[in-house]
Amino acid sequence: MLDVLKYQRSGQPKASNGKGAIDIDRVSITFGTGPTAHRAVETTSLKIMPGEFVCILGPSGCGKSTLLNAIAGYVKPSSGSVRVDGVEVEKPGPDRGMVFQQYSLLPWKTVYENVAFGPRMAGKSRREAGSIANTFLGMVGLRKFGNRYPAELSGGMQQRVGIARALANYPSVLLMDEPFGALDAQTRLMMQESLLEIWQKFGTTVVFVTHDVDEAVFLADRVLVMSAAPGRVIEDLRIPLPRPRSTDMGSMPDYIRARQHCLEVIRAESRRAFEEQNA
């Protein structure tokens, strides 16, 4: 099976500027202390290449979002370090764009103001920030909705604005925490394709958290499967599908094999956890 899954990357993004390397070095994350302490992430080491599209796949509560939050700088590792392009992560910053599952646009700002917010915070002039906002709103196909408030937009549109907003800072890493989890199936598919389009153009490193096997296999160069309690990476799988990806790849043998493999790993792990609990 492994030779089938051998890494063969084609259609690699051209725009990658060599930035966006993530180095997770012996990171463990524990919440709380004493008897109520909860180990969310077991000691984990990972290297993610610049421009790589990585999906972290796992059941809810397995610590995948916590790991993502450590890269974002919201959560401090209890031990070990996270480095992005050699610089240790200490707090959130615009070099690591974040897209959340819940709607996180500022409801009191228009779509346009939301996207211009990052550039404004970076000290860009109103005009400059405005033209950046228009560029990225155009990229996600929402320029004519600039004057709307977020609540006037559908869920899918809000997430597209969220992506535009994160990219407007030209981040070296795009972190996405189940960004399409709340969307209906059709919108979700469309969003996945849009995201790949944008990524292909932008070449930024993407770390994408999901619990959906199909989503992970369809999007990623590399799928990291995590197990729960405590969270750790139990499989690091290259996805040998060519780029650009299209939805009809769902019937390709490579796709089916990769998907099957992920499911087996997850099933074996949950069986093990189940037996452990009942032992």
């Binding site: 919201y74 974040m98 009191w108």
Partner: protein, 290 residues
């Protein structure tokens, strides 16, 4: 770029239709007030008319069942008294003096109340320091403050303003605190990831998130400041609509008591409505949600 836009632009299933063009169809333009609203107004007016009629009937027949209407002036007498006062200058002075007091006390309460509320919401230390004072002082009714207020302040005017100020202060503080606490964490995180400083997060995220709650506090505070003012004006021996009402009672001028009460009710409603109108532009992003 264009290519991407083309790929993404075809109207997705979930895109709402673009907003309709500005000029409304003539039929809609003629009806400024929607029919449901008109119906509500009509029902409200009818209900009020029935209430006034019952009041008239109860006082005309000297109804004495549970409530004694024997000494209660009927609506006709009250209206006549009110009409009479409209021709006197002193009546307007009473109203004007009260409104001035409200304005001064209320504005102070707004500035200080929002300031305290924000401090409590942002700093655990400030919150721990201030909370006990609020818990102890808040339940004290305005009337109970009168003796101490007279002792504390050099003039009657200052005492009245102080009592009115206190009334408006607490709802504003508590609502501001509540609003600041309610700021969704994900919005703060999003702003952090976009490079916002602490100050920027406060101005662009925390304060706007608290605004709906703050403006509710402002409206409640306005209402409370009116009944605190009334308590305070019992002190004053000269002017104010509260003094007018209290004085009418001392002079056994029953219709004037009711005139005073109704004027207070009307001014209270009017000023609360003014607060809502003034804060509405800050909340327009909420309105458009629907």
């Amino acid at each position: 770029m264009t290519q991407t836009a083309d790929l993404l632009d075809p109207p997705m299933a979930d895109d709402p239709a673009p907003r309709p063009a500005e000029p409304a169809p003539p039929a809609a333009r003629r009806r400024l007030v929607p029919p449901e609203k008109l119906r509500e107004i009509a029902i409200g007016a009818g209900s009020l008319a029935i209430g006034v009629a019952l009041w008239h009937w109860a006082s005309a027949t000297n109804l004495d069942w549970i409530v004694d209407f024997g000494n209660i002036p009927g609506p006709g007498k009250v209206f006549a008294a009110f009409w009479g006062h409209l021709g006197t200058e002193i009546f307007y002075t009473h109203i004007l003096v009260s409104m001035q007091r409200i304005l001064v006390s209320y504005l102070m309460a707004v500035v200080i109340g929002i300031g305290i509320g924000v401090m409590m919401g942002r700093s655990r230390f400030a919150r721990a320091c201030i909370t006990p004072y609020i818990e102890v002082l808040r339940p004290i009714p305005a009337v109970a403050w009168i003796p101490l207020a007279i002792l504390m302040w050099p003039t009657e005017e200052a005492s009245i303003i102080y009592i009115t100020f206190l009334g408006a202060l607490f709802p504003i503080v508590l609502n501001t605190l509540h609003g600041v606490e309610q700021t969704p964490e994900v919005l703060v995180r999003a702003a952090q990831s976009l490079g916002a400083s602490r100050m920027a997060i406060f101005g662009h995220v925390v304060l706007p998130a608290a605004l709906p709650s703050i403006s509710a506090g402002l409206a409640i505070g306005m209402g409370v400041s009116w009944f605190s003012l009334l308590a305070g004006e019992i002190i004053s021996g000269q002017y104010g609509i509260g003094y007018f009402t209290w004085n009418a009672y001392s002079l056994i001028n029953y219709p004037d008591i009711v005139v005073g009460m109704l004027v207070i009710g009307f001014l209270g409603t009017l000023s609360t409505a003014a607060v809502r109108v003034l804060t509405a532009p800050l909340l327009k992003w909420q309105k458009r949600t629907r």
